[in-house]
């Protein structure tokens, strides 16, 4: 029995090791992005969150994906990543 060689069927992307940012201890002084993915009634949930956050003096920015069925457009992702410290996404309906 000998060693067999096979060809790698994957994209050969060794995991880039992108670790998530550490969770914030507090929302003081941060900008919170609220992302509506356009699922039914996601806006109801996010409207209430926006109220609660604003009442606490936290800056809120609102975003929406054009459709939940597709990934967020590159520009939208860029804008969120450069203007927000924290994102809350309304995923389900």
């Amino acid at each position: 029995m000998t060693t067999r060689t096979v060809l790698d069927p994957t994209g050969e992307h060794t995991p880039a090791g992108k670790a998530a940012l550490p969770r914030k201890d507090s929302l003081a002084g941060v900008t919170v992005g609220l992302l509506d993915i356009s699922k039914a009634r996601g806006d109801v949930f996010l409207d209430r969150l926006a109220e609660l956050l604003s009442d606490r003096g936290i800056a809120v920015r609102r975003y929406a994906k054009p459709t939940f069925a597709r990934p967020a457009p590159v520009d939208l992702r860029y804008e969120i990543s450069t203007t927000c410290d924290v994102v809350i996404e309304a995923l389900a309906d």
């Binding site: 060689t5 060809l7 790698d8 069927p9 050969e12 039914a40």
Partner: protein, 473 residues
């Protein structure tokens, strides 16, 4: 160009001791070696033929491979390094003409067929391809250790859909690449969700895993191309909690050429082309695109078609033109049509004898897609069985006519609709499907007054649209 190890002018005979015809012609080989400077190349035993003083040892088969020998003995004539002529087996007049010598092998029969060249022995051919031929493969090499079970090793690396796969050895991948004229490094598509460029080679590796034969590869390539268009939106279809996945319908001559099933049990098991082409697409999305259940694939239930879902349209028995032709592909041209598909559901109507009555049954079944009271939700495909197709064919209903009649039969009155998103907005009749959201194809066994409803997914620009692509060699 001179073949290394051979004279640039004169005669060459390729033989093996294990061939009765080669043994039979030994006196002729000895005569030509002495009189006409014949060079004898032996594939298995450099001591054969004993009566020839100098025999070229080709036990590693490199010369035979480079000469493209299929039969032994083969007698070749070279001039200025180029092969001029060759003859296979023993045929006295052919040998005499090629050697320019009369009266060869007077004791021999006039004719005796040769034997297979060792280069074509099972396993040997693949090894030679790796050693001497084929394009350089760029994929990373992965060693499977001696004590690893091959099936387990490939599963453990995460490369399978849960069923065993065929190990993608270099030899198998090279053989697979023989199925297309496209260059191995040509980029076919960018595969979601990781957006990895898929070369012909990488797709071939996955086609080997899936169990494809080389002649299926052009269909797999076309399917991958179609799946990765913006219109088809394979990313969304993969990511959705809905259960649909990509299905492939094949039209045109390639379907018969590779032995696809369009008849009995068309959506079921048992046909290698149907089974492995659909599987190859799924493995490309899994392995190259990185799309895996629990990762980006969030389907609530999924469906068995996510292992594989590929079939051919029954064009011969169809009352209609091929689906690909209805979608703009020239008749006689092979094509794939990709569409989002849940599991199929049979629809039995054994009593309707008129197209109007039968269309009513089909419309009722189609209305259940997504939700019976919800219009304009998901797309769907209607697979009309031959016994149902006959009813429409006899009545002269075209595919377009059937689609229009179904549209009317399926439409909702406002009070029939139960959909949050549409409440209050509906005043008139509402179609079940968006324009172009219902595909109608013809396939299945000749017996059974059945059709199949295959629900889809969100259609149009907000979801997945069916996509047709020609199959290129």
């Amino acid at each position: 160009m001179t073949v290394a190890g051979l004279p640039s002018d004169g005669l060459v005979a390729v033989v093996k001791q294990d061939c009765p015809t080669c043994v039979l012609v030994e006196p002729v080989l000895a005569e030509l070696a002495a009189a006409a400077g014949l060079t004898v190349v032996s594939q298995d035993d450099p001591g054969f033929p004993a009566s020839v003083e100098k025999v070229v040892d080709d036990t590693d088969l490199e010369l035979s491979y480079r000469l493209g020998i299929e039969t032994v003995p083969t007698l070749l004539q070279f001039s200025a390094g180029d092969e001029v002529r060759r003859t296979q087996g023993w045929l006295r007049p052919a040998w005499e003409e090629l050697a320019g010598v009369d009266g060869l092998g007077a004791q021999l029969p006039e004719h005796k067929p040769g034997c297979g060249s060792r280069t074509l022995d099972p396993g040997v051919a693949e090894e030679l391809l790796v050693r001497h031929g084929g394009p350089a493969l760029r994929s990373r090499r992965v060693e499977v250790a001696e004590l690893e079970d091959e099936a387990d090793a490939l599963f453990d690396r995460g490369w399978t859909d849960g069923l065993p796969v065929v190990a993608p050895t270099e030899a198998r991948v090279l053989r697979m690449l023989g199925g297309t004229s496209r260059a191995p490094d040509e980029v076919v598509a960018v595969i979601p969700p990781d957006l990895v460029e898929a070369t012909v080679e990488k797709i071939a590796v996955n086609a080997v895993l899936a169990g494809c034969r080389p002649e299926y590869l052009p269909v797999v390539l076309a399917a991958v191309e179609a799946a990765c268009t913006d219109e088809f939106c394979a990313h969304g279809l993969l990511a959705t909690t809905w259960d649909a996945g990509p299905a492939i319908l094949v039209n045109g001559p390639v379907a018969k050429a590779i032995g696809m099933n369009s008849g009995i049990n068309v959506l079921g098991q048992g046909n290698r082309a149907n089974a492995t082409i659909g599987r190859a697409l799924q493995l490309v999305i899994r392995n190259l695109g990185g799309g895996r259940p629990g990762g980006v694939d969030r389907a609530t239930h999924g469906n068995p078609g996510k292992y594989t879902f590929c079939f051919a349209e029954d064009e011969d028995g169809s009352p209609w033109e091929p689906l690909s032709v209805s979608r703009g592909v020239a008749p006689g041209t092979s094509a794939v049509t990709l569409f989002a598909a849940e599991g199929p559901r049979g629809l039995a109507d054994q009593t309707s004898r008129t197209p109007e009555s039968l269309a009513g049954s089909l419309a009722a079944g189609l209305r259940s897609v997504a939700h019976p009271s919800m219009p304009m939700a998901f797309d769907a495909t209607l697979l009309v069985g031959p016994e149902h197709g006959r009813v429409f064919g006899d009545a002269g209903w075209s595919r377009q006519r059937l689609a229009a009649e179904l549209d009317e039969l399926m439409a909702y009155d406002p009070d029939e609709i139960n959909a949050d998103a549409l409440s209050g907005q509906i005043t008139g009749r509402t179609p079940k499907f968006r324009q172009g959201g219902l595909l109608i194809a013809h396939a299945g066994g000749r017996a059974g007054m059945f059709s199949a409803v295959i629900g889809g997914w969100v259609g149009g620009s907000k979801g997945s649209q069916s996509v047709t692509r020609e199959v290129r060699p």
